[in-house]
């Protein structure tokens, strides 16, 4: 005689009537739970798989030569790095040339004394401050320092406050 037809047998896995979970429901829920956990796990490992750990992209740190290359009151566009090296009386700073709107490369317009984006018409001061949109943010300043042998070094991964300038 099976337990289901004899609830009074006192077996530990038989639950009182009214609070009963049938074997079928129990196994269904366990299976669905296990599949759910496996599903979440596969989403997690897929996410890891699709995020590359090693990138063969250009280095974000580069040297920009001797400071004497840049006259005072000058904006120099470094095409390979897409960075402006700006030298003002107060010091050096490195401004991103990538427009904060949609990533186009901006251009320095010496006649108008501003940086302009050819794609959608955003305009910036040489210190990156926005003159007019559609760019939502000013151009970021990158960390700029001097190496031991006296060359400028810029790190494009480190964004610094515009008030920080390098005095040489």
């Amino acid at each position: 005689m099976s337990d289901a037809t004899n609830p009074s047998a006192g077996s530990p896995h038989v639950v009182a009537a009214g609070n009963s979970v049938s074997r079928r429901d129990f196994l269904n829920e366990i299976t669905m739970g296990a599949l759910g956990i496996a599903g979440l796990g596969s989403v997690a490992v897929s996410y890891q798989y699709f995020s590359p750990n090693v990138l063969f992209e250009p280095s974000t740190t580069f040297r920009a030569g001797n400071p004497d290359l840049y006259p005072v009151h000058s904006v120099t566009f470094l095409q390979d790095q897409q960075v402006y090296i700006v030298r003002m009386p107060e010091g050096f700073y490195a401004v991103s040339a990538v427009c904060t709107h949609l990533g186009c490369i901006t251009q320095w317009k010496p006649d108008a004394d501003m940086i302009a984006c050819p794609c959608h018409g955003s305009k910036f001061h040489p210190d990156g401050i926005k003159i007019e949109g559609p760019a939502p943010r000013p151009l970021p300043h990158f960390s700029i320092s001097l190496t031991a042998d006296g060359e400028l070094q810029i790190d494009k991964l480190q964004v610094i406050k515009p008030s920080q300038v390098l005095k040489v």
Binding site: F50, S51, L55, F56, E57, L102, C104
Partner: protein
Amino acid sequence: MATTFQTALQNLRETKVWKSIFRRGPANTNRTRSLAIFGNLFLHWMPVKVREKSLRVRASYYLGSISFLLFIVLFATGILLMFYYHPAAPNAYRDMKDLQFVVSNGVFLRNLHRLAAHLMVFAVFWHMFHVFYRGGYKPPHEFNWVVGVVLLLVTLFLSYTGYLLPWDQLAFWAVTVGTNIISAMPFIGNKVRFLLLGGNIVGENALLRFYVLHVVILPLAAFVLIGIHFWRVQKDGGLTVKPKDEDGKE
């Protein structure tokens, strides 16, 4: 002449080989005509009967069929283009130029693929507007309307992923701008952009990812959704026929 041909076809349909392939003899009654549709894998999700009014040009302008025809053209030309295209830098751009200037009839295939893609986006949009203005989204067609909207998105993603593959300046900047739009999504934007590009810049990883999306994942999704879309047209009772169509006034 026609009778000779018809007799030959009739005799062919009585042969054992024909019957073994199509599971029945000639479709000469309404019942056997229906069975010819039911019993064919490629036709069984099509309607056995349609209302004459729903076949009129004004009922649909055949825009869905035109979109599907363009999809088939894109599928065929796309497979042929794959024989000459490497999804890697700098090969991709050179292969595209080879198709234009070196490969026999390559420029024809490439332009056919490109023009059919432009036309398909146009046809799918027109189809959507037409269905909308005829009230084709109303019950019982709501689910199929949603499937259609997803198909519109798949069409646009196919168009967008294909745009990067020539690997020229237009492609590079279009994808730079497009993926920067994605990164404007709150919280997850930058992560989604990183996953889509396989890096921080539009480089070789991005080219390969867009290629796989363009030639495998999105076409598969489109085929499955198109199957559901056609099948639901039949299950939901055919095209929306307006009262004025019934009156025959058009």
